[in-house]
Symmetry: C2
Subunit: 162 residues, 2 copies
């Protein structure tokens, strides 16, 4: 049932943003979808014990953007629907500063784990009806003081959601 | 944003099976749904580092039953759709041996965390169209040698899915 594919990661056009293919086991009753195991390449380190798992749904046609974290690393999978995700690297010291990365996460063709380091702006919208569901296994619990929000239309980020 | 409600658990009619209410934060773009944090009452102990997170979807009208584990504890939440879940206690030493517990998990009215100890038979079906999605944060990784399956129609369990 397990596959070596889950233990390999792919680099992306933004330094430190990584993808790992995940397995989907189809059955007539409904699929089983892997997300995270202790021996996965993208397994986070939890600096103070386990962090947090939460879900974020987005309705078709709606946008959740932009957000970035100072301390919390994101680990995303999309088990329901298809998400269009955009990331932007504003980090002064990054070799990929200024890069925009646009990708799909979800089923059927993009069921991958996505790791986002601190400092990267991200936002997403649903490509599927009636929406999509993101699962995040973050390395620290939610703390409103370590995250920033700017509007989806902010000129600080060279990407248009229109 | 946090609520004391998430730190209280409810006993059920089966010894050791516990429920914890979870918070849903509605927004016009789509809800944020809590699942698990390190300080939750039902936070599992991971005996050998982190266990596993996976999803199991079930299509409307389909049944996934029956399964039980010798070593793996289950921690379920249903972030999409509504699941009908049935549990049966066959444990010889249990004060609730022979009890059947039938409950709903999912949205909008039953968004709870459910903890299932080892030895309990469980099965589920979707009450919502087109299906429902279960997330399990298990305390050990998947191991086919420690779980058992019997058919949904097995006479060993006094419950009819019809």
């Amino acid at each position: 049932m397990d596959s070596l594919v889950e233990y390999t990661t792919q680099e992306t056009s933004i330094n430190g943003v990584k993808l790992q293919p995940l397995q989907v086991i189809d059955t007539p009753q409904g699929a089983v979808l892997h997300m995270l195991r202790g021996d996965y390449a993208l397994m986070p380190t939890f600096p103070a014990g386990f962090g947090e798992i939460y879900f974020s749904e987005v309705h078709y046609g709606e946008i959740k953007a932009w957000k970035r974290h100072q301390l919390q690393q994101q680990l995303f999978a999309v088990p329901w629907g298809l998400l269009h995700l955009v990331l932007y690297d504003p980090r002064e010291q990054s070799p990929t500063k200024g890069q925009v990365l646009s990708l799909s996460l979800g089923r059927p063709d993009h069921y991958n784990l996505l790791s986002i380091p601190c400092g990267i702006w991200y936002g997403f919208t649903a490509q599927s009806h009636p929406g999509a569901l993101l699962c995040n296994c973050a390395n620290i619990p939610h703390d409103p003081h370590e995250s920033e929000h700017i509007p989806a239309t902010s000129p600080l980020i060279p990407y248009s959601w229109a």
